[in-house]
Symmetry: C2
Subunit: 306 residues, 2 copies
């Protein structure tokens, strides 16, 4: 591994709302080093993004400057610089052409991967950061297909012919938190370990024909009130119902095909796996750190590395 291919060639940064992950990447894709920080864009002291940048990746450029790609909410209105959205459908080359350059006060050039927009009949949709993960995943053996990125705002992304053709956002994670913390549904919920039975009941309720969240969520109150489920199951029941409703809506949109690639290694992704299987949809899992593969592919297409 002393070949030139394993020399540092690129720094990739995935800078989100609540955290930052950085990668020192060789030309062959080997990850030579990693860094992580909780200084997401909402937690950058004095909005001094360059100081966070220097702390996280500065040591990797002590010998020589490296090209830097940054993706994620860092390009949003509350980020370091705001970049316009590129319009789907788009390929890795389109994303490379849309890179927005920026020179830091210390003279380092940072190439920002811009976010992506699409248009549904119901209205516009946007993402920042997920497109780079998808480009990373689609550089593996998973070039075409449907991808789900569970999270605060989960994303369903369709890749076809090597292009991101469309995607949809579901506010599932954020709505779950608001319901449990700020409505009556939290009052009968008892904190505890994950209870699969509560989750499964919730998924079944969420995917049911004729399901209606505004009504069905009330059962997360009536069922424990009548002693039919335990308080320890309430949160898992609500979680299952919301994820089930998300899957049912994606199916109705034609986005839930026979197999989904799940991106992310969180407990949440495990829950999506369970729920997708219950809905008769197969899953595979993308490896960790695929976002760095996305940085590499976009940088290559932009001619930033050999």
């Amino acid at each position: 591994m002393n070949s030139a291919a394993s020399e540092p060639a690129l720094i990739g940064i995935d800078w989100g709302t609540t955290s930052l992950r950085a990668f020192l990447i060789a030309a062959d894709g080997t990850l030579l080093d990693k860094a992580a920080s909780s200084e997401g864009i909402l937690h950058v002291p004095d909005r001094d993004f360059e100081a966070v940048f220097d702390r996280c990746v500065g040591r990797w450029m002590e010998k020589r400057r490296l090209p830097v790609l940054a993706s994620g909410m860092i390009t949003s209105r509350n980020g370091w610089i705001e970049t316009p959205y590129a319009q789907a459908p788009l390929s890795v080359d389109d994303l490379a052409r849309a890179l927005v350059g920026f020179t830091t006060n210390r003279g380092t050039e940072v190439h920002f991967v811009t976010g992506v927009a699409t248009e549904h009949t119901s209205g516009p949709d946007v993402m920042r950061g997920e497109e780079t993960q998808i480009i990373g995943a689609s550089g593996l053996d998973m070039s075409d297909g449907d991808f789900v990125l569970p999270g605060t705002h989960s994303k369903w992304v369709r890749v076809s012919g090597g292009r991101i053709v469309n995607f949809a956002t579901f506010m599932t994670g954020e709505i779950f938190a608001a319901l449990l913390d700020h409505t009556i549904l939290g009052t009968l919920a008892v904190k505890g370990p994950f209870l699969r039975k509560g989750f499964d009941l919730g998924v079944a309720a969420g995917v049911r024909d004729g399901a209606s969240l505004l009504h069905d969520l009330f059962h997360a109150r009536t069922l424990p009130l009548m002693g039919r489920i335990e308080g320890g199951m309430v949160a898992d029941y609500v979680s299952g119902m919301l994820i089930g409703a998300e899957i049912a809506a994606a199916k109705a949109r034609g986005d839930a095909t026979s197999e989904i690639t799940l991106i992310g290694r969180s407990d949440l992704a495990d829950r999506y796996e369970v729920a997708l299987h219950a809905a008769g949809i197969g899953t595979k899992r993308a490896p960790d750190d695929i976002v760095a593969g996305g940085h590499l592919r976009i940088a290559r297409s932009a001619g930033l590395i050999a």
Copy 2:
């Protein structure tokens, strides 16, 4: 009006979570006096319900004791006494038979109207207090039909053959508040007067075939982000979408017939009227204070007044 029919015959109390309304009722239904308090069951100092009771209605019993009926969340777990639910379908006579008597420390007999439960394929549903309003409304020229009581938890109630045959709860109001106050949807919302255009757009989105709240709510972020609706419309857009989704779900359940009787005189009831009309459903409005009519009918059936 000096006839015996206009003498005080009954005290009716509608005692909810956040407020209390009391009525001094004549045998012919005339309302001789009213009282109101913000001491709903969650705001009763030291849980001394009898003190609140005495302050609100004590003066009406200085000359002589009167029968007292109380309905609402006052019979819930956090209320004065907890009563079991009566099972729908039920009539005014069934509610009269299910009254739960209670003698206060000062020796006043209070008859509590118990709440009502029903069973959907999706799970159990419950209400406390709305049944008395419905009994009041159905004593007018609106005996049979579909009733909607907008609120934190709005209720759709079907009355047929003089009986409450079933009902469904929608957590619309509470979920609206949680979304605006505790998710990203609040950040682009600008407080201001009601903007009908934003509300109408939201209703259209909510009743749309293939609508999905978890996805569509994200448009309350993307539309103002892209300058397509003003920040001042965001809250009305979300409100319209939720009420629209509630109406669509009620339609799918078969609960939204050609005409709905709206109960309540709030701004919220006005919004439901607009949304129901947009969905092609006619409305009429129940008069104020119909709950007192419910108290009277139940008391009569129970033989508490002549």
